[in-house]
């Protein structure tokens, strides 16, 4: 499995890019001990115009490079945590629905559909607007809008694994139903969940950026979306203010997508789109 993943060029590029972003996020306080909000020079300095400010300064004279590094922290944190929370909601719900069927299935799926009928982004905006826009509420809002696909995926996987003969064998061994579900069925649904989770992190980062762009971000946390939103009015005179955070988003999301696809190909070699066997 790992061997197949490693032999996938795209996926390895994704891993390298992601590691780079993570490292930058981790060492941001060391690189820029003053934090992202500190005004360091006069505003609207172009990249490389002044030594020590390779990406220039923003409308208030703050270091764009420092903003990017701290923004990486927020993006990754929101992406990871909201995905985890979404899995925590979606996996149990989908598993119960798929395994027990009948009314449990009906109930859980109608509940899921209720969420699916509302556009993701609109719901996220409403949720953040109702709560105070803090990192916590943003993460929670993103988690709440992104669990339904997880629940549906897990339900479908569980339903197909449930009919396999080893599940019958486990019943004959006298194992209780919850134990069969947790011990026998769920481990066999892990690979598609992992693939989906890696792609969900990317979507969550995009959602967070969009929210911040609209001014619904945490006012105390620097984020890429906020940077682009703030630079919107000066995009024609100071292109670098929206360009660099945009690039950062593209690179991170691309990296995660590459990894997700690589994982998918590694888990399902037969479905791999490339013909090289």
């Amino acid at each position: 499995m790992w061997k197949r993943f490693r032999s996938n060029m795209g996926a390895m590029i994704g891993v390298v890019l992601l590691i780079a972003v993570i490292v930058i996020a981790l060492i941001a306080p060391l690189l820029f001990p003053d934090g992202p909000w500190q005004m360091v020079q006069r505003p609207f300095l172009a990249p490389f115009a002044v030594d020590g400010l390779p990406l220039g300064t923003d409308t208030l004279g703050r270091n764009v490079a420092a903003q990017l590094a701290y923004g990486a922290q927020v993006s990754l944190l929101v992406g990871l945590v909201s995905t985890l929370v979404a899995l925590l909601i979606g996996v149990p719900l989908g598993a119960l629905a798929g395994f027990y069927g009948g009314y449990a299935d009906e109930g859980a799926m109608r509940f899921t559909e209720f969420f699916q009928t509302i556009p993701n982004f609109a719901l996220a905006i409403v949720l953040v607007a109702i709560f105070e826009p803090t990192l916590f509420s943003i993460t929670l809002a993103i988690a709440i809008v992104s669990w339904p696909p997880v629940a549906r995926l897990v339900r479908a996987e569980v339903m197909s694994v449930r009919t396999r003969e080893f599940v019958d064998a486990a019943r004959l061994a006298g194992l209780s139903k919850p134990r069969i579900l947790i011990q026998q069925v769920l481990p066999n649904t892990v690979s598609p969940i992992i693939v989906m989770a890696s792609l969900m992190v990317a979507t969550a980062i995009l959602l967070e950026s969009s929210l911040s762009f609209l001014g619904l971000g945490d006012p105390n946390a620097m984020s890429w979306g906020y940077m682009i939103g703030a630079a919107r009015t000066v995009i024609r005179t100071s292109w670098w203010l929206s360009f660099f955070p945009g690039i950062a988003i593209v690179i991170t999301v691309l990296a995660l997508n590459l990894i997700g696809e690589g994982l998918n190909d590694a888990f399902n070699p037969h479905l791999s789109r490339k013909g090289k066997a």
């Binding site: 396999r164 064998a169 019943r171 004959l172 006298g174 194992l175 011990q183 066999n188």
Partner: protein, 539 residues
């Protein structure tokens, strides 16, 4: 006789990392006009690859390395894709093992047949239709007018295979390649399809390349035989010569491994029953909506039978006869509508879910598909000890027992720490048997336990079951569609048809003196029945 196809020294390379460098190595063969050549071998012997190469249907990464295949003095292996397309269907046609997946589920049968003409740009719409109808009639499908308007799912397995054959015959090909076309079918249906192929060969003078793993089928239809093993031809010759006087060690082994219908010695049976089934009924209801009536299938219809302690009872029937449902009801994976399943004085059919879990160990099951019946993410040890530990056996003791059982089924104790994917189908089936034994059951139900295995592996597993029967005086309800297999292992045989028990009796009574018409039909349909006859007489 004129040669239809000549394959010379065909070698097909496998991609790197496969278990051997060549799928097929230096294979030469000749098929004459009007001749049936059977290519026999176990799974992985390269017999299907040979056929796929001729049709230009090799999977990606697999390619022809060397050799020629001359068909009408053209090398079909070197044709351009366009030429191959013109050849396929028109000159060489192919039928596959699984007719359900080979037919387009969303197209009517008649349209699928007409499409063959359309693909080669022949005839007008109405003429295609008429010809499709003729073909449907020729392959003996009932009610042709209705059949050409039917969808594949409305047909039975045998009917679908006939439809496939009709498509293959549409352009009067000179060569028909049949890749295990009867393997997925019931014996009686298989016999009909084999007759159809023989009949068509007679009428049209086609050459047929027939790929199979079953020597019974070979005995039934082959003129020439080629035996393949690991990509190489190990034996070739006239069908009669190869069957009666095999030269190569491997062919002999394969022939020995075939369940010949040789009858085992009758054994004395004890009077105490291990399993008593009384008036068991199970009806499945499907569909049923506002405008649709509920569809009812009486899977098990008032069946009563007993399995004595230490007895192996064979339960034989075609697919849909309810034999599997009966087995699943006996372990209560399916709850019956009415009737009793008495095991050791307890009526399993009447227990509540909770009581049942405590009584589960009494009856255990060995499943059909060795690949689906073991959890791929659980070590063998876990599979063997989950049940006993759940019953309260101390962990140490359960693990010791598991190792002992693995020894008994011939795998060795170190198999315990490995994962299922490290084992072959036959080995997995042994693990399945060990898992059933670990629960110390009073009865084992083997549901088509050897059907998915190659003949030589099948023989080994049957030997194991026979040995266990002696050693542990096991009681087994052995469910199978294959009468030959049942004859090898069982003391008595019960025949089921459409949910009802047709006949039950000692093996020799059933085989030599069947009372019911249906049993006689089943026996007559067994492929190679005539050929196996002399041996039976000897026994």
């Amino acid at each position: 006789m004129s040669e239809t196809l000549t394959v010379e020294r065909l070698t097909i390379g496998l991609p790197e990392g496969a278990d051997r460098p060549f799928a097929v190595e230096n294979v030469s063969l000749t098929i004459n006009k009007g001749e049936i050549l059977c290519v026999v071998g176990e799974s992985g012997s390269g017999k299907s690859m040979t056929a796929n190469a001729l049709m230009g249907l090799l999977p990606q990464g697999v390619e022809v390395k060397s050799g020629r295949a001359l068909f009408e003095s053209r090398d079909v292996l070197r044709l351009s894709e366009a030429d191959k397309q013109a050849l396929r269907g028109a000159q060489i046609a192919m039928i596959f093992q699984e007719p359900m997946t080979a037919l387009n589920p969303l197209m009517r049968i008649g349209d699928q047949i007409s499409e063959v003409f359309a693909a080669h740009g022949l005839y007008t719409q109405s003429e295609r239709r008429k010809r499709a109808l003729d073909l449907v009639r020729e392959v003996g499908l009932p009610d042709p007018e209705k059949i050409i308007r039917a969808y594949p799912f409305q047909l039975s397995g045998g009917q679908r295979q006939r439809a496939m054959i009709a498509m293959a015959l549409a352009l009067e090909p000179k060569l028909l390649i049949a890749d295990e076309p009867t393997t997925a079918l019931d014996v009686t249906t298989q016999a009909q399809i084999l007759n159809l192929i023989l009949d068509l060969r007679e009428r049209r003078g086609m050459a047929v390349m027939f790929i199979t793993h079953d020597f019974g089928v070979v005995a039934e239809i082959a003129d020439q035989v080629i035996v393949m093993r690991e990509g190489k031809v190990v034996e070739r010759g006239d069908a009669a010569a190869v069957l009666d006087n095999p030269q190569h060690e491997y062919t002999k082994r394969l022939l020995d491994a075939i369940p010949t219908g040789k009858l085992p010695e009758a054994r004395e049976l004890s009077d105490t029953p291990a399993l008593e089934i009384k008036n068991l009924c199970k009806t499945f209801r499907t569909g049923g909506g506002l405008f649709k009536p509920v569809r009812e299938v009486r899977a098990v219809d008032d069946v009563s039978l007993t399995v004595a302690r230490g007895e192996v009872l064979g339960l034989v029937g075609e697919s849909g006869s309810g034999k599997s449902t009966l087995g699943r009801t006996a372990v209560r994976l399916v709850t019956p509508d009415s009737g009793h399943v008495m095991v050791g004085g307890v009526d399993l059919a009447a227990l509540s879910e909770e009581e049942l879990r405590r009584q589960r160990n009494k009856v255990q099951m060995v499943f059909q598909d060795p690949y689906a019946s073991l959890n791929p993410r659980q070590r063998i040890m876990g599979a063997l000890t989950d049940g006993p530990i759940n019953r309260g056996v101390p962990k140490e003791q359960a693990q010791a027992k598991a190792r002992e059982l693995l020894e008994i089924v011939g795998l060795g104790a170190d198999a315990a720490m490995r994962y299922p994917h490290e084992f072959s189908g036959g080995q997995r089936q042994r693990i399945g048997i060990a898992r059933a034994l670990a629960m110390e059951p009073e009865l084992i139900i083997a549901d088509e336990a050897v059907s998915a295995l190659d003949v030589s592996i099948q023989a080994q597993v049957l030997d194991l079951l026979r040995e266990l029967r002696e050693r542990l005086s096991l009681s087994i309800l052995f469910i199978t569609h294959d009468l030959r297999v049942a004859a090898q292992l069982c003391d008595r045989i019960a025949v089921m048809q459409k949910g009802r028990l047709v006949e039950i009796g000692r093996v020799e009574d059933i085989f030599l003196n069947p009372q019911q018409e249906y049993t006689r039909q089943l026996l007559a349909a067994v492929p190679g029945a005539d050929w196996a006859q002399p041996e039976e007489a000897m026994a």
